[in-house]
Amino acid sequence: MTRVETPDDLYRLQQQLKAETDPDQPRISVCCGTGCRVHGSMDVIQAFREEINGRRLSGKVEVVGTGCHGFCEKGPVVVLKPSGVFYEGVGVEDVPEIIVETMMNGAVIDRLVYTDPLSGDRVVHEHEVPFYQKQKRLVLDLNGDIDPTNIEDYIAFNGYAALSKALLQMKPGEVIEEVTQSGLRGRGGAGFPTGVKWRLCREATGDVKYIVCNADEGDPGAYMDRSIMEGNPHRVLEGMIIGAWAIGASQGYVYIRNEYPLAVENLRIALRQAEECGLLGHNILGSGFDFTVQIRPGSGAFVCGEETALMASIEDRVGEPRPRPPYPAVSGLWGKPTNINNVETWANVPIIIDRGAEWYSEIGTDQSKGTKIFSVVGKINNTGLVEVPMGTTLSEIIHDIGGGIPGGRECKAVQLGGPSGGCIPSAHFDVPIDYESLQELGSMMGSGGMVVCDEDTCMVEFARYFMDFVQQESCGKCVPCRLGTRAMLEVLTRITQGEGSEGDIEYLLELGGQIKESSLCGLGQTAPNPVLSTIRYFRDEYEAHIRDKRCPSHVCKALIQYTIDVDKCTGCGRCLRSCPVEAISGAKKETHVIDQEKCIKCGTCLEVCKFDAVVVE
C-alpha cells in the first residue's frame, strides 16, 4: 500500500495508477452487491477467474468484483469493458461462452442480452439500456467500475482529489460556502440545507466536535445507502473527511445497520486502507489535520435513524429521541457540537468540491439541486436503484426507467418515504420529484424508497402494515406515538377484518392529525402519513371495507373468499393434495369444491392450479 503524505504524493500515485491501466485492456465487471450475490454472482466471478487462468489470460484480462450496478432485477449483471456489452442473468455455465464468443470473437450472445419488456427491442450496450439511459449517475458512477475493497481503484478514478483540493487549496469557510451554494439538501429525508447545518456546527462553541454518518437506512424497501456503502465506501469517507475539516471535528462515527453485513465489511476494509494510505489519521496530506472514524453498528431499532436517538445509541443508551432545541449542531454527542448527515449526502460532497457549486446547482430544480437515488421496488418490471436529476417525473421513473408494471397490470400508486411518507396515485405521476412538490401531495422525498403498488394492493391493508411497523419501532417515550399509533392500528385492524364502523375514518383523521402535531420526534410526527394519504386518495377503498365489508383488491382475508370456477376446473386434484387444511374435496376429473368453513385463505390452491380455476373475490 503506497502511503501518501502530501497532495503531490496523491497526484503522483493517481497518475501512476492511470498509466498502469491500459484503457483498451478488456475488463469484466461482475456485480457483487448483495442482490446479485443472492443470484449467484460470487460463483460467476469465481468461474470467470478460473476460466481466465485456465486460458492463461491473467495478464491480459482483468476481472473486477464491483458493488451494486443498480439493475437488480437482471442480476447477476456482467459488463464487458471497454466495449460496454451488458449481459443479464449470467450463470456459471455462460462464462466460457462469454469469454470465447464475446471477448475474443466480438460476437454478442443473444440470450444474455437485455430485452426491453415494453418494446421487445434487444439492447447490447450498457449506456443504451433504457434503465441506465435516463439516469444521471453522479454518486453511483463508479459502482460498476471499481473494486470497493481496493482503495487504489478509487484513487485511479480521481478519488480523494477533492479532499486534497479542500485541505490544501481552500479554507474551511470556503468549503462550507461551496456546499451552501451548491444547494445540497439532506438526502436522509428531511431535506435540510447541508451547508447551513455545517455552518451552525462550525460556529458552535466546543473544544471537541464530532461528525456522524447516518447509515441506519431503516425504511423498508430502501437500499440506496446500502449500495453506496457496499460499492464505493471511499466516496462517503472522502465526504466525511472534507466535512470534518470544514467544521473542525476530530472524530467521526458511521452508524450503520447490522442487517447490512457486506456494507459493514466493505466499510471496515475501506477505513483500514484509508488509514494505511495516510488519508485518515494524523496530519492528513500534510495539512496538519487529524481525523479518525469509528464504526458503530446499529442493533435493530428503526428509531435510531432519528438523529437524537442515533446519538443516544452511540452513547450506549436506549435509542430514545430527545427534544430539540438544543440541536445536535450545538449540543450533540456527549453534549458536544455534532454534525450528522446521511450517507448519500456525504457522498455528494466530493462531487461538489471537485466540480464546483455552480456546475452542481445547474442540475435539478430551483429548490432541489443535484440528483437523488431511488430504490424502485414492488410491482415493477425493472426493480433496482435509479439515480436521476431532481425534477424528473414519477412517470418517467416508473415507465421509461422502471419498464412499467409486470403482467400488464395497472399501476395504482407509488409509496414514497416509507413509513413516514405518503402514497401518490397514478393520476399525479406527472409530478416532478422535488422536496416541495411531493409534500404538497401529502407525501415526501424520504430517503428514496419507492414502492410501486398495482390493482392487487389493498391500500387499507397497506396503511395498516405501516402502522404496525411504527408500533413495533416506536420507542414508547411519548404518549401520542406510543398510545396514539396503537389506537390507529386497532382501528385499521378492525377495518381490515370487516369490523369497521361509521366514524372510523373521521377518528383516524382526527387522531392522525393530533399525533403529527404533538409527538416528540420525527417518527411519531410522520407516522400517520401513510394512513392520511391513503384516506385522501383511496377513501373509497376504506368505505368499501367499512360499509360493504368488501375488499376491492381481494386481499383482506376476512372479506374474501376462494372458490373454484366450475367451468375451468379439470379435477386434476393438485389443489386438493396441496391444501394444508384439507378444505378441498372432489373426485378425480370432477369439479373440486372448497369448504369455506375450513378454508384459511392461505392461497396455496391459487398458486398450484394450472388452469386459472381458483377465483378470489
Partner: protein
C-alpha cells in the same frame, strides 16, 4: 434577560429558562404530568404543549423543555393546544382508566368515554420514578425496559434490584399510585421490585418508618465517608 409574549402578555425572563418555568413564575397555568422541578425535564407526556408561532405557521412544542427565546410568541390555551391536550388525555384514559389523576384531568377537559380501549395499567410511563431514582437518589435501581407499547418500569431482569435502598422516593413521586409500598409489620417492600427491608421502628410511637440501607446512604451523603 430576554422578553417574549405569552397569551398576549409581554414578559421578561431569565435567559436559559424554559417556557414552562417562565409561565409558572407569572401565574400562567399549564398542566403537566411528567414534569417535576427537582428533575431534568423529560418531554414525554406532551400535556404541557403550547402553541409557538414560527415562520412556517404555528407549531406545538413541549413547554417543559422548549427554551424561552427572545421575541417568541406563545399561546398556552389556544384551540390547537386544547385539542392536543384532550387527545393526549383521551389516550391516557384509554390506557389507565382507573388512575385518579387521569380521571381528574379528563373531567376538567371534558373528555368522556375514550373511543378505544388500550388496557388498564396505572403506570402512565411518565418516568418520574426512574428519573428520581437516578437523579436525586443516585441508586439507579430501576429503568425503562422494552420499547413502544410494551415499555415498562422495571428493575434488572424484572426480578428485584440490589441497588434499591428502600427510600420510597418512587412511591412518593408517582402521580397515579402505581408503585405500591407494602409494610407488613417490620417488613417493608416497594412494588414487587425489591427484596424486603427490615424497617426500623420509631422509639417513641413504634411505627416502622425507615429502611436501614436508606439510613446508611443518607448518613454517608450528609456526613461524608
Amino acid at each position: 434577560m430576554i422578553s417574549l409574549t405569552i397569551d398576549g402578555r409581554r414578559i421578561e425572563a431569565a435567559e436559559g429558562s424554559t417556557i414552562l418555568e417562565v409561565a409558572r413564575e407569572h401565574g400562567i397555568e399549564i398542566p403537566t404530568l411528567c414534569y417535576h422541578e427537582a428533575l431534568e425535564p423529560y418531554g414525554g407526556c406532551r400535556l404541557c404543549v403550547v402553541e409557538l408561532e414560527t415562520p412556517r405557521g404555528p407549531r406545538l412544542v413541549a413547554s417543559c423543555v422548549y427554551p424561552a427565546e427572545e421575541g417568541a410568541v406563545v399561546k398556552t390555551n389556544s384551540e390547537m393546544v386544547q385539542a392536543s391536550r384532550r387527545m393526549t388525555v383521551e389516550l391516557l384514559l384509554a390506557a389507565a382508566p382507573h388512575a385518579k389523576v387521569i380521571q381528574e384531568l379528563a373531567a376538567r377537559m371534558g373528555v368522556k368515554e375514550p373511543r378505544v380501549t388500550l388496557g388498564d395499567n396505572d403506570c402512565i410511563l411518565c418516568g418520574l420514578c426512574v428519573r428520581a431514582c437516578a437523579e436525586i437518589v443516585g441508586a439507579k435501581a430501576i429503568s425503562l425496559v422494552h420499547r413502544g407499547f410494551s415499555k415498562e418500569v422495571s428493575p434488572p431482569f424484572e426480578i428485584g434490584s440490589n441497588a434499591c435502598i428502600g427510600c420510597t422516593t418512587c412511591v412518593f413521586i408517582c402521580p397515579t399510585g402505581a408503585i405500591k409500598l407494602q409494610d407488613v409489620l417490620s417488613t417493608r417492600s416497594v412494588h414487587e421490585w425489591t427484596s424486603e427491608f427490615q424497617a426500623r421502628a420509631c422509639k417513641i410511637c413504634g411505627d416502622h418508618y425507615l429502611a436501614p440501607e436508606f439510613a446508611g446512604e443518607a448518613k454517608e451523603s450528609l456526613v461524608g465517608e
